[in-house]
Symmetry: C2
Subunit: 209 residues, 2 copies
Amino acid sequence: MKLYDCRTAPSPRRVRIFLAEKGLILPTVQVDLRHGEQLTPAFQALNPWCTVPVLELDDGTAISEAIAVCHYLEAVQPEPALMGQTPAGKASILMWEHRCEVDGFLAVQEAFRNITPGLRGRALTGAEDVAQIPALAERGRLRVQRFFQLLEQRLAESPWVGGPAYSVADITALVAVDFAGWLKLELPPACVHARAWHADASRRPSALA
Amino acid sequence: MKLYDCRTAPSPRRVRIFLAEKGLILPTVQVDLRHGEQLTPAFQALNPWCTVPVLELDDGTAISEAIAVCHYLEAVQPEPALMGQTPAGKASILMWEHRCEVDGFLAVQEAFRNITPGLRGRALTGAEDVAQIPALAERGRLRVQRFFQLLEQRLAESPWVGGPAYSVADITALVAVDFAGWLKLELPPACVHARAWHADASRRPSALA
């Protein structure tokens, strides 16, 4: 197995933290996103969506999309469980993970890619250039703030995002919140539960990944 | 178990088709999205994200987000398998399902919600009103067309979206393509493999769900 990664990028960090929690160390290939290595024919052959992470299996199968990579790793190394133990527990975790991705991570990404000068013309991931929409950057910021409120509501009633135990939902939420820092957005002081959760999640050694 | 559904909405159709493929019939509650029933306190208590589908378990646990509902149903009724059989097969299916959701379904939704007069102020799902961005509707349409090309590329080399067998990835792709019809966008004639796949998937009795 081999992981295509980019050390500075938030999206593969989801998998790096997941691996660290499992105690797994994989050979990695650093993909130079800044210089467009993800757009080369060689990389597109691996992942036509032009994103990292990609997990390449020994038979050459390439798995991209962070959540799909996590499902694979959970299947081949079940302990410690990061995706729940029972059908209902798993479903709750996956529900929260998905919410944190779409309404947290993707909202930050939307705000960031539509305003950052260095990403002009690269407002979306993928092979083709797409122009920035400044109004969308503004909307993305509002979405992130709304996400912070929903996270606070959740963490006022649950110790971890996905339920009673640390899980992949916490990983996606942590990566989303830290990515929001790139926009100078942080959990507001009133979000006391979310801030305490963030401190706990950040204290785990895996957060350095 | 009880499914909160909206008969006319594409998002819960993902679960309706999944259930039909499993041969499962659940009691359903129709949520009147047109008149804002998803925004009522009662519904927000069930799902603060204000979306359908929601699967309510017998103990009151509410599972929203279509993919999480599908994971639950697959766990409690494994046959026929709609999410793969091996770790690698499952990961490929989940990778494709996720691509079809984010770059297919969500692209259509973005285009639709940012241009439809009846959705003015409702450009995003969720409790709070959000103004439409016309430029985003236009971008959404381009994203959908790009998605069609990537789907064609995939189906030129694989009989089904997720691999050798029909799976949840086909369900999400089918719902996305049919939802694009609301924008008067369809798979172009040159997408011969994707069109043949669409005809096959639509011929299954589950497609009526």
